[in-house]
Symmetry: C2
Subunit: 135 residues, 2 copies
Amino acid sequence: MGVTRGKLAKRTGCNAETIRYYEKIGLMPEPSRSTTGYRQYNQEHEQRLQFIMRGRELGFAIEDLKSLLELVDRKVVSCGEVSRLARIHLASVHQKISDLQRIEDALSKTLRSCSGENVPECPVIDALFLGTDKF
Amino acid sequence: MGVTRGKLAKRTGCNAETIRYYEKIGLMPEPSRSTTGYRQYNQEHEQRLQFIMRGRELGFAIEDLKSLLELVDRKVVSCGEVSRLARIHLASVHQKISDLQRIEDALSKTLRSCSGENVPECPVIDALFLGTDKF
DNA sequence: GCTTGACCCTGTAGTCACTACAGGGTCTAT
DNA sequence: ATAGACCCTGTAGTGACTACAGGGTCAAGC
């Protein structure tokens, strides 16, 4: 009863080594073992792993997911606490986006003044060396 | 003649340990030393470090900066090659932004359906567990 | 029954770009 | 002379994995 690590990996799309890693850091519980020591995963493990994978896709840190899963495990899921964590995360995603947009802006401005030809004057290099006010 | 590592750190705003790290990985050259073994940095080192710092701020990877600085060192800076590297980097910044925007979208959509009150039904947790088509 | 190959186990080291010690030496000011 | 701020080296830690090395196990085919 129960699937091996490799099969769980295939079913979820998670790397098999990553599953072992999640167990090591306490994000996935230790599953039961076969007589020969093979891990045996059940439906609950699969759901939990998918929870983790969806959370990671949304950019939640491992620690965030630990907190969320702890709430689930203790069955004290309160929408208040969850939405607080999610809003904090949303704010940091927002911050990352605007940082990257600033970078994109500076880069594309500099590239626009670049001929792209094989001439030795390069505005990209100059901008990095001289620090124009673009950055 | 020349400033110590700590002083270069202060002048550039770079962490002093980071300067040592950049030397170790071959991004900064080994400077000359005082009789007692202290590193002595000059103007050229400072310019190079600022180049690196501006590049990092723009999200260039260390390896990218190595490539760019190699072109500079060999005095074969051709705008063609530089702009090629910069365009590749710009594309990856662009990709990151749109990934994050997708995440932002999914998160804020889910949060909108969340009351934020202390009720046990939480759409954020449900979304992670059940995998709604939002993600 | 034996072999082959695909799986599983463990622990450890590598990735990236730093950061933070520990355990020593040096420099400057009082 | 001594205190405190600096400098040196090497190493270990971060986050989130990934990739071995060196073994054991399982299922299929012959």
